[in-house]
Symmetry: D2
Subunit: 256 residues, 4 copies
C-alpha cells in the first residue's frame, strides 16, 4: 500500500503579525512544522498551534531556523556546526515544553529556510543538526530534502529519517531542486504538480528539468497555507492522492 505524509509550515505568526491560514490548511495535512521563535513564531503562537494540531489529530514537528526574524530565516548565515547544534537543541526544547504540556510528543524536526538548504548540501552542518536532535530525543524523525546530506546525516546517527519532496518545484537530474532564480523552477500548473507527486509516491520517479527520469523517495510532501489558493491546492492534492489509493498519513505511522 502506498503511503505519504503532507506537511506544512505553521505557527509563523509573531506578536501582532499574522502569516498563514493555519486554521484552514491544518485540516488537510498530517504533519505540522511549528516555527520555534527564531525566524518566526512566538511562545503564544506555538502554544496555540500545538493545541490546534492536537485537536485535528495532526502530528507535531519542530521547525527550527536561524535567528533572523527580519530575513524570515531565509538568508544563509555562516554559523558553525557547534552553533547550529546548540540552536537546534534550544528550539526543539522550547517546542517540547508545549507538546509535553499537552501530552503530545515531537514527531519530527525539519530545519527551516536557509538552514534547510544549507544542511542539504553541507555535510558538517547536516551532521551537527542530526547530532543535536539525537542528543535531545533519539525517537524524533529528521525530515529534510530527499536524498540529501541531511538524510545521510540522520542515518549516520541512527535517527529515523523522512525524505521530503516538493509538488511545485522542478528537480535537477542529480535530485537537487532547480534554483528559484532559473526559469521553470516553479511548477504553476496544479494538475501537473499533483500528477508528479502521485508518480513520485507510486513509482519513486520524477522527470527532471532536462527531461530525464530520476529516482526520488517521497515520504512527505511539502505544502503551503499562505493564501486561499494554496489551501485549495492542498485540499485538491489530498483528495487526488486518496483517489489514487495512496493513504495520506503522518510519517510516524509508516517510518518505523
Amino acid at each position: 500500500m502506498y503511503r505519504v505524509d503532507l506537511n506544512s509550515d505553521l505557527a509563523e505568526s509573531f506578536g501582532n503579525y499574522k502569516i498563514g491560514l493555519d486554521e484552514e490548511v491544518i485540516k488537510y495535512v498530517t504533519s505540522a512544522n511549528i516555527a520555534c521563535g527564531w525566524h518566526a513564531g512566538d511562545p503564544l503562537v506555538m502554544e496555540k498551534t500545538v493545541q490546534m494540531a492536537k485537536n485535528q489529530g495532526v502530528r507535531i514537528g519542530a521547525h527550527p531556523g536561524y535567528l533572523d526574524l527580519m530575513g524570515f530565516g531565509r538568508r544563509n548565515m555562516a554559523v558553525t556546526p557547534q552553533e547550529v547544534k546548540a540552536y537546534i537543541k534550544y528550539q526543539v526544547g522550547a517546542l517540547m515544553a508545549f507538546t509535553k504540556a499537552k501530552g503530545e510528543k515531537i514527531q519530527h524536526v525539519k530545519p527551516h529556510g536557509a538552514m534547510y538548504n544549507m544542511a542539504a548540501k553541507d555535510k558538517d552542518l547536516a551532521m551537527a543538526i542530526a547530532e543535536g536532535i539525537y542528543e535531545v530525543d533519539q525517537d524524533i524523525i529528521l525530515m529534510g530534502l530527499a536524498n540529501s546530506e541531511i538524510i545521510k546525516a540522520g542515518k549516520t546517527f541512527g535517527l529515523k529519517v523522512c525524505n521530503e519532496v516538493f509538488a511545485d518545484r522542478a528537480y535537477n537530474s542529480d535530485g537537487t531542486l532547480v534554483s528559484r532564480k532559473l526559469e521553470g523552477a516553479v511548477i504553476h500548473d496544479a494538475d501537473l504538480a499533483i500528477s508528479r507527486v502521485v508518480r513520485m509516491v507510486k513509482e519513486g520517479k520524477v522527470t527532471a528539468i532536462n527531461g530525464e527520469d530520476i529516482e526520488i523517495k517521497a515520504q512527505s510532501i511539502c505544502v503551503h497555507g499562505d493564501n486561499p489558493e494554496a489551501v485549495e491546492f492542498v485540499r485538491k492534492i489530498r483528495l487526488k492522492l486518496e483517489e489514487e489509493g495512496i493513504q495520506v498519513t503522518a510519517i510516524s505511522n509508516f517510518i518505523l
Copy 2:
C-alpha cells in the same frame, strides 16, 4: 539538622559578551540558575554551563526572564499572565533540551529580575508562572522570594517550593526586601551578612530594617559571582555555614 542551599545566577554571558566568574563561583554553590536566552545567555552558554554544573555536581535550574536583553530583564514589563505562562514554558523547555542531552534534570525554576520581583507581589502573574511550570514538569521546584505570592502560587498548584533569602539585603517588617533606592537596603558588611543568614537558617528569624525581629524561612541563599570579591564572599559564607553545622546542599535533597 540544619540544611540550606546556595544558589547563583550563571550563564549570563551572551555571544561575545562575558559576564560573571561562573567557573569560580560554581565551586561553592549547590544550585545554578541558568539564564535561558531572553534577558541573558545563549544556547552555547547554556550548553557549556549545564556541562559545568554536571561536572561540579551542582543542580541545575532555569532562570527565565523577560525578552529584554538591553535591560538585562530588570525592567518591569506589562505582560499578561497568559504571555508570561507561555514565556516560562518556552524558556524552561529550551533549557530542558540541554539537561536532557546530558542526562540531567531541571531541579528548579527561579524567575529573573523584574519577573522575579513582579511575581513576588502580583498574584495573577505568580499563578501564571506556577501553572506554566506545572504543565511542563510537576517535579520542578519553584524558587522565589521567601513567603511571597510566588511561593503561595507554587503551593496552590501542588509544586514543591523553595523560599529564597538574600544575605546582603535588608528586609522590611512584612518580609519584603527594602527597595534598593532606600538607604540601608544593601548590607555591605560581609560578616554581618553572614551572621544574618546563619540566624535565618537556624532560628528562622531576621532583624528587619525597623529593628523588629521577623520570621523568615531560608531554604536557599542567593549569592553572586560577578567579581572576585563576590566569589570570595561566597567561599566565606559556605565555610561559615558549615562551621555552624549547617549542611550546604541542593534543595532537591531536602525539599521533598
Copy 3:
C-alpha cells in the same frame, strides 16, 4: 478658517510580515507616522514608505516606540527618562537618514503605543522625550495626546506641539481617553465619530462619557489603515471635513 491634519501610523510591516493598507490610506492622510524598527518597521519598509509619502505629498513623522517587537510596543516598560531620551534620538536619527536621502525633512515625532500613553501622564518621561527631540532638531513638531503631559513638555522645551484627538474614542471629563477596558470606550458609529471630530475642530469641544461638554484642541486626527473598512472611514472623514469647510492639511502648514 478651520484647519486640521489627518495622521496615520504607517510602515509597520517587518521583513516578511505585512501590516496595514499603507498604499490605500496614504491617499487620504496629510501626515504619516513612520515606525522606526523598534516596535515595528524595518529599514527597507522605512525607505519605501518615505518614498511613498514623498510621492503623495504627505508629510513625514517619526513614530518611535519601545524595543518590544513581540508586544508591538504596546506593553508598558519601566524605562528611565535617560533611556527613553536616547531611544528617541536613535529612532528619529534612523528615520532622518531616509528623509535626508530623499530631500525630505522630519515634520513631527509622535511616540507609539505604550510610550505614547505613558508620556501622556508621566511628566519625567514626557520631558525626556521632548528633550531628545529638541537636541536632534528643534524644528520638529512634537505630536501627542491633546492637553496631556507630552504637550506641556514640548512647550517647556520651546518645541512646536500638535494636540492629537481620536475620532473613535470616548473621552473622560478630564480630557483623558476612556480606557479600552471600559464599556463605551470605542465609538463604532462612523457618522457619530465624524460629527464629533467636526465639532472638536470647529468648536473646540467634545461630549465626555459622562455627558459633560469639555474643551479639546484638535490639531490632528488619528486614523487607521488596518483594513478596508478603516480606509473607507478615513476617506469619509476627509470628505466630510472638507464639506464642512475644514481644510485638511499637514500640521506644518498651520502650526508655526
Copy 4:
C-alpha cells in the same frame, strides 16, 4: 610630511554587558568607530561615547554591522545589496542623531566585521554601502580595507575614501589579509608590527607573507582596546609613529 590616522572600534558595550577599555584607548586614537546597535552598542552607549570622543577631540565614525548581536556581526549573512544599503542608512542615521545633538559631525563610516570583509571582495555589496552613505551625506569618508572593492566603490560614488591597514595582520601578495585560519596570519611581535606600519606609512610598502614586497596605502591604522596589553600597544605605536616624524591625526585633516 607623513600623516596617518589611528582608529579603534568603540561603543561595543550593550546594556549590562561591557566590552573594551574605551576610556583608555580613546586617549591615543584619532578616529573612533562607533557601533550602532545592530552587532553591538546601544543608544546609551552611543550617546556616552560620542560625548567622550568630543571631549578628547577624537573624530567620530559610524561602525555599522549586520543584525547579529549573538554573532557580534562577525558571521557572513547573505543580505542583498538593497538590504545592506538600507541597513547602512539606518545605522548611520541613528548615530547622526547623537553627533548632531552634540554639535559634531560624522567623519567616516567603516563597516564592521563580516560586512567589512564581504564588502572588501563583493563589488555589488561594496557599491550598495557606498551608495547608502552617498545618499545620506556626501561629505562622509568611507573607510575600508586598503585597495579593496569598498575603496573602489567609494571612489565610484565620488566619496572621499580612507585606506585602512592592520598592524598585527599578515598580508597576501595581492594585498588581501591572510586568513586567520592560517599560520602566521597574526603578528604577535609588537615591535615588528610597529615597524611594519611605519614602513607602510613612509614607503607605502609591506612584506607579504610570501616574502614579496607589495605596495599598500596606509591612511588609517586599526588598533584595539580590548585589554590592557592592547591599549599599551596603541600607546606605543602612537609614540613610535611620532618619533618617526609621522603626524598622527584624524583622516579628515588630510583626506580632502
